[in-house]
């Protein structure tokens, strides 16, 4: 055990960096070179800026960029505000426990499934409108209202916020104990601060640094999302990422050049959104310095708390409504407007899907579990090395870690496929597992990193002083103490793996079919009944993962409840 421990700790950081940097570097080269005109297979063998010119001449480019940029910032800002206000107003209350139980599994809902559900809930012919028609509205036919798909992207932002609130909430729950939130809060409350004021003034300054990277990931995702934008976003013009995907899939192969330039521009937009956010952080820190220490005990606690409660309840209702809509569709035959319920209910869609869903389900499970375990082992190894050498991961290594989340995946994967073929790696399940690990690993790192680093080093010192070797400290002290964050990270990783569409399709040459590849190709055919069946299955798998992540530690450590750090 000790020798494998030592070897693991030495190798893990390098393996991690190789796993991420090699594909990302070649993927980036696969974007940069064509963007400047170099792609010999298509006859591009000289460097030129004409493709950038073509990109800039695209009608509506400014609007596309603006949509992506604004969506990224607004959805991240709104999600963060909701989570912070809610935590502040309701931590240590019964409402909080209830909401937490409900929200965490909702994290498992894949973005596409949530968007499909939301679109069906709110569309003019959707569930809400059916429930009110024709009784209250007098609508015999759906009204002609532009939502979702509104030109400001409000529906798209709503869909993103809905998904990011559970994510940030889960990340906060993992981080709260690390910044001693309870102690801080108790102190502030004892000094007479209102619950929300106490949270905002005393806990947030310690909590936010732990949430920074997850928030950045949210901005990066929201500013480059394709699935959500396709379902809820505007179409004339669409956000930049959708346009890039269209150009990349254009039958006219010479569009690849401009698409690559567009992918680089997308990278730039994402980075610009991140830089803006960073500036806002600096500004907020400056502006609130006086406010933090002005001694006021109450700052509209009741009003802000009410808003937070309203926002969280609304998101809960929307997600639940979307799920109900999906379930109804999966049981529907012909279901015309304005009937509020499908009649008759039928299992036809399920039996039809059952014939062909065994393979995709097992494949998805195997890929997800192996990719998650691989990522978990590498991340723990890298973090252990960091702890052991008491040296934080260097900034360049951090950057490599997050590159897969920052580079728009469509463009970066084309380069990756080139490398795969070049290296003679046969398309198949192994390639797909490694491809998933590229995207799973950053999220696992994201969810585990801070908990690992913030674990009180005195536990290790104590164990060492009792004569335990570093390996023994790792196996007997650190891992058990971190079991809850470890399980959470694994569940997040598994959910990320289940949601992957493009890596599965491209690296498996389409031969590896998972529940998600089936769902996406069916969704392109527009049969909402079957799409609903597959979307429900697609969210059932990660939901199972989260249930295990929350339940297993409770079962394993029922005699050591102190390990189940609760908020």
């Amino acid at each position: 055990m000790p020798s494998s421990y030592a070897l693991g700790v030495r190798l893990a950081p390098w393996l991690t960096i190789t796993l991420l940097s090699l594909p990302v570097a070649s993927g980036l080269a696969g974007v940069i070179a064509p963007a400047f005109g170099f792609l010999p297979a298509l006859g591009g063998d000289s460097l030129t800026l004409t493709h950038w010119q073509a990109l800039l001449d695209r009608p509506g480019l400014g609007r596309m960029v603006q949509l992506s940029y604004v969506t990224g910032l607004v959805s991240a800002g709104a999600s963060l505000a909701i989570v912070m206000l809610f935590l502040g107003a309701f931590m240590h209350t019964r409402v909080f426990t209830a909401v937490r139980r409900l929200l965490s599994p909702l994290l498992a809902v894949p973005h596409a499934a949530a968007a499909i559900g939301l679109a069906f809930l709110l569309a003019p012919s959707g569930l809400l409108s059916r429930a009110l028609s024709p009784g209250l509205t007098d609508w015999q036919h759906p009204p002609d209202i532009l939502f979702p798909g509104d030109p400001f992207g409000l529906a798209m932002i709503a869909g993103l916020v809905l998904k990011e609130v559970p994510f940030l909430l889960l990340m906060s729950l993992a981080a709260l104990p690390q910044c001693r939130a309870s102690e801080r809060l108790r102190m502030a409350r004892a000094l007479g601060y209102g619950p929300l004021s106490a949270f905002l003034k005393v806990v947030v300054p310690g909590l936010y640094p732990l949430l920074r990277l997850p928030v950045y990931a949210v901005i990066a995702f929201a500013s480059s999302t394709v699935e959500v934008a396709l379902i809820l976003g505007p179409t004339t013009p669409p956000p930049l990422a959708v346009a890039v995907l269209r150009w990349l899939n254009d039958p006219d192969l010479s569009m690849r050049f401009m698409a690559s330039a567009g992918a680089l521009l997308q990278l730039g937009v994402t980075l610009a959104a991140l830089a803006t956010w960073w500036l806002i952080e600096v500004l907020v820190r400056r502006l609130t310095r006086r406010w933090l220490s002005n001694g006021r005990r109450h700052n509209g606690d009741a009003v802000l708390g009410g808003i937070a409660f309203g926002a969280v309840s609304l998101s809960l209702l929307l997600i639940l409504g979307s799920l109900v809509g999906l379930m109804l569709w999966s049981l529907a035959a012909y279901w015309p407007f304005p009937e509020a319920l499908p009649q008759p209910l039928t299992l036809r869609n399920w039996t039809r899907a059952a014939a062909s869903m065994g393979d995709p389900l097992t494949q998805a499970a195997v890929i997800g579990i192996v990719a998650t375990l691989l990522s978990l082992a590498l991340v723990v190894g890298a973090l252990e090395a960091e702890t052991l050498h008491q040296r934080p991961t260097r900034p360049w290594a951090q950057l490599i870690l997050y590159l897969p989340l920052l580079v728009p995946s469509v463009a970066f994967l084309f380069g990756l496929v080139l490398m795969q073929i070049q290296a003679g790696v046969p398309p198949g399940i192994t390639a797909v597992i490694f491809g998933h690990a590229i995207f799973v690993l950053p999220y696992v790192f994201l969810s585990l990193g801070e908990s690992y680093r913030r674990l009180d080093p005195r536990w290790a010192h104590l164990a060492r002083s009792l004569g335990a070797s570093p390996a023994r400290v790792f196996w007997r002290v650190r891992l058990p103490m971190l079991s809850v964050p470890l399980m959470t990270a694994a569940a997040v990783g598994f959910a990320v793996s289940i949601g992957q569409y493009l890596p599965t399709l491209l690296l498996g040459a389409g031969r590896v079919s998972t529940i998600t590849t089936e769902a996406v190709s069916l969704a392109s055919g527009g049969d909402r009944r079957l799409t609903a069946v597959y979307a429900l299955l697609q969210l059932a798998m990660p939901a199972l993962g989260f249930a295990l992540a929350l339940g297993l530690p409770r079962l394993l450590f029922r005699r050591r409840s102190g390990l189940l750090t609760s908020v």
Binding site: H141, L253, V417, R511
Partner: protein, 409 residues
């Protein structure tokens, strides 16, 4: 100069990736006359057939085909389900860029139009082979020139016909009494029924097709459309189309400020009751969708009085396919009377056959005559009013112009 820096970094890398991408593609052509030897070689092969997987009916049909291939010829057919055919084109392109000339991952692609044009132009296809298929003669290609031409582009044996498409309008007869029968009537109809008609977002295939269809319905002399587009005549030829769309858009669904993403999204809007008139490329799709509970039973289909655009969809083999013999066997089976009749059944898929019925035996013809139908089915005679697809260059130019005019609101 940043340019020289970039080139110094990247050229070596890409030179590495692109070696030997210009090899010839004439492998295996010699064996095509000897069908028996192809059959022997194909035995035991696994054929990876990349086909759009968005339609459960189509997928079930392909499943049936793969069972038949297994039991009849001992060939394993795997349906690789695509969200978009361009994904397969990308893959072949990437393989070519990486110098993979023999072990391609794709053996057969369901394809036509722009994707075929792109693959043909870039030398990504194997062939010619299609006219040597034993069943090819059943399409009576000399009487049906569309079997040899894909969007005016000569096929030259690089792909085999599989099914037929023609723009077909459909409407909800509970809500619409007399649907518009010409392009101009459509505008009048939309004015009287605002918000109840739309077309898919250009450059979606069906959306772009609507532009060509409308243009053909508006101009007196279609001749220029069948030659490559010229900047000199583009404006004068297409002026009636833009006037028409300027008038039509305010009366479209969502006032023309948003468009559905695809033909399937359009069908879904019909199913939701948001639209009461729509169109598709598959003449039997409305009937099949009624049978599949996706459209109201009151759905009816028709073709415009002055005819609508029609084309054929094909299957092609990439230049580097690993299992060419198996792919040839599969393409031939797809053209067999039995497979074609099963495909045209609206309870199976409802995709119109490419076979010329008078080349078939009496018994084979019976199989087609006995297929079920419902009131949404388009009478087969209606399909005679077919307009040929304009030259592909028009599509691209029309798309550009549309995006400039209406792509940003």
């Amino acid at each position: 100069m940043p340019r020289s820096l970039v080139s110094r970094l990247l050229v070596p890398l890409f030179a590495l990736l692109s070696v030997s991408s210009l090899q010839a593609q004439s492998l295996e052509t010699q064996g095509l006359d000897d069908w028996a030897s192809i059959e022997t070689r194909a035995k035991g092969q696994t054929v990876y057939w990349n086909a759009w997987g968005g339609d459960a009916n189509t997928n079930d049909y392909i499943d049936w085909v793969s069972q038949q291939m297994q039991s009849r010829f001992d060939i394993d057919v795997v349906h690789v389900k695509l969200g978009d055919t361009a994904e397969a084109v990308s893959r072949v392109l990437a393989e070519k860029a990486a110098g993979n000339d023999e072990d391609g991952a794709i053996d057969l692609i369901w394809i036509n139009g722009e994707n075929f044009a792109a693959m043909k132009k870039n030398g990504l296809l194997y062939g010619p082979w299609a006219e040597q298929l034993p069943n090819f003669a059943l399409t009576a290609p000399d009487d049906n020139p569309e079997m040899r031409s894909d969007f005016t582009l000569p096929v030259e044996g690089l792909e085999a016909p599989w099914g037929k498409a023609q723009i077909t309008f459909y409407y909800d007869s509970d809500r619409v009494e007399s649907p518009p029968k010409t392009t101009r009537e459509l505008l009048e109809w939309a004015r009287n029924n605002p918000g109840r008609f739309t077309y898919p977002l250009v450059p979606d295939f069906l959306g772009s097709t609507f532009l060509k269809q409308a243009l053909l319905g508006l101009i007196d002399d279609p001749a220029p459309l069948y030659a490559p587009v010229h900047e000199a005549n583009f404006e004068s030829v297409t002026a009636p189309l833009w006037d028409y769309l300027d008038a039509l858009h305010p009366n479209l669904w969502r006032s023309g400020q948003s468009f559905p993403n695809s033909g399937s999204a359009l069908r879904q809007l019909m199913g939701d009751g948001e639209l009461s008139l729509a169109f598709t490329f598959n003449p039997l799709e409305p009937a099949a969708a009624v049978a599949d509970y996706q459209l109201p039973p009151s759905t009816r289909s028709y073709v415009l009085d002055d005819g609508t655009l029609g084309n054929v969809h094909f299957v092609a083999i990439p230049f580097n396919a690993s299992h060419k013999a198996g792919a040839l066997m599969l393409a031939n089976f797809l053209l067999s009377p039995e497979a074609q009749a099963h495909k045209q059944d609206i309870e199976v898929w409802g995709d119109a056959t490419v076979l010329a019925l008078d080349t078939l035996s009496e018994k084979q013809r019976q199989a087609f005559a006995a297929l079920p139908d419902n009131p949404a089915t388009l009478p087969i005679e209606a399909l005679q009013r077919t307009l040929a697809e304009p030259h592909p260059s028009w599509m691209e130019r029309l798309e550009q112009e549309w995006l400039t005019r209406y792509g940003t609101r």
